[in-house]
């Protein structure tokens, strides 16, 4: 077990350093902050709406930023290794592929944790303006972190299949968008008109969005956490399979 921890730490450290010694993390974090805050204040009308829980003014828009920006964070994870040939270096060291996968995933998750942390001023704002219930806010942040991490995990799985970052980005964005839209309220309503309720409910259950919205309402159901963790675990397993398949 200690070899696993040693290796995961080493890869985690390397990837995190790589993110923060190149423009990539900074650019993505800044753009995310501008969009998240901008939407909250201007489009969400935070001032007027008086939504102390931030559900519809702030959290509601985040998935659409995650869908585009999280793949931008994750697309380099394995594509770079394939293209530069460093995968041959890494996989001939005494390391199991899942050590590297976990290390890389955790580094990307930390990038998103940092990005979300920088949005905390919005919480101070609503605390100043009113008296919000912090339960939904905190579970909303947890949900947002899991949402972004899920999109990164999905992206990492795709990046294990291709050398091209662009291909990876496009496919990942499409996949994450699809998983978002099938739970998006307006779209669910439309689907309800076409399909039986049971079917639509099942489809929506696979959606990142519906589970996230539940969490932002303070409904911290074990089911939602399990869903996000399942998406992450399944993606990491697929990554492992892809890496192995390329060498078999």
């Amino acid at each position: 077990m200690s070899i696993a921890i040693r290796n995961i730490k080493a890869v985690f450290k390397r990837e995190l350093t790589a993110y923060f010694t190149s423009p990539i993390a900074y650019v993505i974090i800044v753009i995310f902050l501008l969009m998240a805050m901008g939407f909250a204040f201007w489009i969400g009308n935070l001032w007027d709406f008086g939504d102390a829980s931030l559900t519809w003014t702030f959290f509601f828009y985040l998935p659409f930023f995650f869908v585009v920006l999280a793949p931008a964070v994750g697309m380099r994870l394995w594509s770079d290794e394939h293209r530069d040939g460093t995968i041959e270096l890494m996989l001939t060291m005494p390391i199991e592929p899942w050590h590297a996968i976990l290390g890389k995933f955790l580094a990307s998750a930390v990038v998103w944790a940092v990005a979300l942390l920088f949005t905390w001023p919005i919480v101070w704002t609503i605390q100043y303006l009113g008296d919000p219930d912090m339960g939904p806010v905190l579970s909303g942040y947890l949900g947002a972190f899991l949402y972004a991490s899920s999109c990164v995990a999905i992206t990492m799985a795709i990046s294990a299949f291709t050398r091209s970052q662009v291909t990876c980005l496009i496919i990942s964005v499409a996949l994450c968008l699809a998983l978002t839209l099938i739970g998006y309220p307006q779209i669910v309503d439309q689907l309800m008109k076409m399909f039986p309720a049971g079917v639509v409910d099942t489809i929506a259950d696979f959606s990142l969005m519906s589970h996230f919205l539940d969490m932002t309402k303070g409904v911290l159901v074990f089911r939602d956490l399990l869903y996000f963790l399942s998406v992450i675990v399944v993606s990491l397993v697929i990554t492992s399979i892809a890496i192995r398949a390329k060498r078999a």
Partner: protein, 316 residues
């Protein structure tokens, strides 16, 4: 010690490695020779555990690469083809990362990194970013990571590729020095490197081993190994050639006589039962008797590139 048995690697319908077996012991430096696409890199990738063989086994000091890959990989230092590096790190940072993955920690970590930097002449670029390095430095950085953890086994895929003659000589010396206490395999196209650094060489063609022996043994396989090469001045080149053919120990004479020239350059192959030395003295006596001017007389020990070509071209 490396033990490879019946390694086979298929990529779909294509068979890249077709039943390769060999053993390399401690203190041996094995050279892998072969044309491009012969299967040298693929074989090395299976030995280092990067590729899974379609069938066959790889043992590193008694540890099976298939059954206990982590344990086996700990014993190996590997320099892949094209010397891959993480371009977003510095040289020292990169070696630090490799040291972490190799479990070289604590006090020995700094020492190991410093030693590797020194051995590979990387001190001047220690804190330089990898993506600004020249090809020679990039290669040596990748070589440094392969020796960082003082491995028992070193596998080097074209370690002198792209290096200038000075750097090539340095790397060869390093291989020779390290080979005394370790097991080393390295692949190359440069035949003089085989003589310079190997204790044994293996020629691979189309996924199979076509020759295996010490450099001297391989050279002896050349068709004109043992021939006496001459450069003789006399009345006429054709005349000289004719006289050489008449020698009792001469099987045949290779090399045409230039028309109108009084100088002949060629080689005389000895008959099966005649030693090269005897043939040489026959030629010397001929020149003395006929008053030819003998300006060159030496035995061809066999050339590796002749062996290489004859063993690998026949299958084209």
């Amino acid at each position: 010690m490396i033990k490879v048995e019946n390694l086979v690697k298929k990529f779909g319908p294509k068979t890249a490695v077709d039943g390769i077996s060999f053993e390399v012991g401690k203190g041996e430096v094995l050279g892998f020779l072969g044309p491009n696409g012969a299967g040298k890199s693929t074989t090395m990738r299976m030995v280092t555990g990067f590729f899974e063989p379609t069938s066959g086994s790889v043992d590193i000091n008694g540890v099976s690469m298939l059954d206990e890959p982590l344990l086996a990989k700990e014993k190996i230092g590997y320099l892949p083809e094209n010397a891959p590096l993480y371009s977003d790190m510095t040289v020292a940072g990169f070696l630090g990362f490799c040291a972490d993955l190799r479990g070289v920690g604590g006090r020995s970590r700094k020492k190991a990194i410093d030693e590797a930097l020194e051995t590979c002449f990387l001190e001047p670029v220690r804190n330089q970013s990898v993506d600004t390095l020249s090809k020679g430095y990039r290669h040596r950085t990748c070589l440094a990571q392969s020796i960082l953890h003082d491995p028992e086994v070193l596998i080097l895929d074209e370690p002198t590729d792209g290096l200038d003659p000075n750097q090539k000589a340095e790397v060869r010396n390093l291989i020779r020095r390290m080979g005394k206490t370790r097991t080393i395999i390295f692949s190359t196209h440069i035949l003089e490197e085989v003589e310079a650094a190997c204790t044994r060489a293996v020629v691979i063609d189309q996924g199979k081993i076509v020759a295996d022996g010490t450099p001297a043994q391989l050279k002896a396989k050349a068709t004109d190994a043992g021939a006496i090469e001459v450069s003789i001045d006399g009345p006429s080149a054709a005349g000289i050639r004719a006289e050489l053919e008449k020698l009792s120990g001469a099987k045949s004479v290779l090399g045409d006589a230039k028309e109108g020239s009084n100088s002949y350059n060629g080689s005389v192959l000895p008959k099966a039962k005649t030693s090269s030395k005897k043939l040489a003295s026959e030629i010397f006596e001929l020149c003395t008797a006929q008053k030819f001017t003998l300006s060159e007389l030496h035995e061809n020990p066999g050339r590796l590139d002749d062996v290489f070509r004859s063993m690998t071209q026949t299958s084209e």
